[in-house]
């Protein structure tokens, strides 16, 4: 999803500008020195012997930024973290990737990193759920598990000699079906305790990948996974299953029901609105936007219009100022 510029009318420009200024004033009080642009000076205590890290430079005894971003301090290390950049993995991150290659005993996944991530056959649960050693037959059947262009959810395991390794050792990881994948800048997704969300009232699953890939799809129960995997297990001996034998009529019956699809589209548009405005993407904000559009009885497509985006910005400014007063 590429960045979309909103076609704003004059009134909407003024309203959006006011809301953004209000948001900036709220955040400025807390982190007045957090964001920097190139050549901004960074306040440091020289007596402590600071370490100048990435994105900083020494100029006449003063530490200045060489990047636009946010200042981070880790003990004595001071560095600037650029916002508009590719995803930088950390161990334990939940990521969503797309299979680009099936190699020997592994899949290569594109996760918006500067190189492909590796998911080993031994780093994931087998479809039948049995904990056993992988055999040569399993290697031959790797395309029955994930094939090219499949969307996979996994966890960052760490860096090895041959690149970044992922693992999918839990039932919640694995292939993602019946939904759509959205791409947002990675800095909009904060690391949280929970990245898997099941919106029960809507019947949809929401996975916020730390790499900016967000999956919105139909809810899948763990039990259904077991049953479905058993069905596919019976075909595991077939190297190239014939997936095109499903007729058009049978395919239509398998479509997501319209009510669930409406909620999937509404949630996806909520994420798109947040990405357009550059706001943090968290579950409560997404839910708030969905409820706002439902209360206004707004058409799903109109959520992407200028008027609703400006309204979301204004509501977010109100919400943060009320949270500010509550403290």
């Amino acid at each position: 999803m590429r960045e979309i510029q909103l076609p704003l009318s004059q009134t909407q420009k003024v309203r959006l500008q006011k809301a953004l200024e209000q948001l900036e004033s709220l955040s400025t009080k807390v982190n007045s020195d957090a964001s920097v642009i190139i050549a901004d000076s960074i306040h440091v205590n020289h007596e402590d012997g600071v370490l100048k890290g990435h994105g900083t430079a020494d100029l006449n005894g003063e530490v200045v930024a060489t990047l636009c971003g946010v200042v981070e301090r880790v003990n004595k290390l001071v560095y600037v973290r650029a916002l508009r950049s590719r995803y930088k993995p950390e161990v334990g991150d939940i990521v969503i990737g797309r299979v680009v290659e099936v190699a020997q005993k592994r899949w290569r996944l594109e996760i918006n990193y500067n190189q492909d991530a590796v998911l080993l056959l031994s780093s994931m649960n087998m479809p039948d759920g049995v904990q056993r050693r992988r055999t040569a037959v399993d290697e031959l059947n790797m395309r029955c598990i994930f094939e090219e262009n499949d969307v996979v959810c996994a966890e960052v395991r760490g860096f090895q000699h041959d690149g970044l390794h992922l693992q999918a050792r839990s039932r919640k990881y694995g292939k993602l079906n019946r939904g759509q994948l959205l791409t947002v800048p990675p800095y909009l997704v904060k690391r949280q305790k929970q990245h898997f969300h099941h919106l029960e009232e809507f019947g949809i699953d929401l996975i916020l990948g730390c790499n900016g890939f967000i999956w919105v799809g139909e809810h899948v129960e763990a039990k259904d996974d077991m049953i479905e995997d058993q069905v596919s297990q019976s075909d595991s001996q077939v190297l190239f299953p014939n997936k095109n034998c499903v007729s058009l009529e049978e395919q239509e019956k398998n479509y997501t029901i319209l009510e669930t699809r409406k909620y999937i589209s509404r949630a996806a548009n909520a994420v798109r609105v947040l990405s357009t405005l550059g706001f943090n993407i968290t579950l409560e904000i997404i839910k708030g936007i969905i409820d706002l559009s439902l209360s206004m009885n707004l058409d799903i497509h109109d959520m992407l219009g200028s008027e609703f985006c400006v309204l979301v910005a204004e509501k977010e400014a109100e919400r943060r100022s009320s949270m500010k007063k509550r403290r």
Binding site: I4, N149, R178, Q180, E252, T256, L258, I300, L304
Partner: protein, 286 residues
Amino acid sequence: MVGLSLGETHFIQGGIAQDLRCDGRKRLTYRPISVETGVIPQTNGSARVRMGATDVIASVKAELGKPSLLQPDKGKVSIYVDCSSTAEPAFEGRGGDELAAELSNALQRCLLGGKSGAGAGIDLSSLIVVEGKICWDLYIDGLVVSSDGNLLDALGAAIKAALSNTGIPRVQVAAGTSNDEHPEVDVSDEEFLQFDTSRVPVIVTLTKVGRHYIVDATSEEESQMSSAVSISVNRQGHICGITKRGGVGLDPSIILDMISVAKHVSEQLINKLDSEIASAEAEEES
């Protein structure tokens, strides 16, 4: 662009079958369209059109030239399209040439009519200065800045907006020149003739996915298409050109149905586009 998984393609096809696409649109609904005119000051006319994440720029340059021997009473119009490397990694180097040539041919077929010049959306006779001797040559250039599907419709809309923004200098022909000599002309720097765009058509592309067809397909939806028919319709409801792409053949009854649907859709699109162009021109003057 990257490929799609089976689950995603199934979801997209289901959305089209159930008349609720991934972003909540119906089959015949367009993404938000925004128009900006006068974006390139060096040209006689220019415009920028955004349809969702698709972003294109069109410009018009006018030059005095000599009419073709075959049609001495008509001016000349050329259309070229270039795909910027920033739009898609695949457009790097010569990667976008094939798509650019395809778009150029489709635009010429939709806007300029046949070889006889009949049915052209642009009135070529208005470009004549002296019949058989001097005419205006229009060079229309399109640039794809960002590509998210439906490039042909966006380029057609951008060209229509650019022609609305075009000012052709007024030309005074020196009197008393004999009929055999090359006439002397004085091109004014102050006075400009506004181009008449009331007959310039809009292009509506109907993309067939499964059993249904949709307008304004995104990149993901275009990857699922079996074929696509582009129909240019003007304000009077006349068909100015039809092109088809995609490998699957279409039944004639389906094409006739597509034409009637395109006529219906083009009414709203023309009204929307004309109001956007008018507001863009007003904003440019202020």
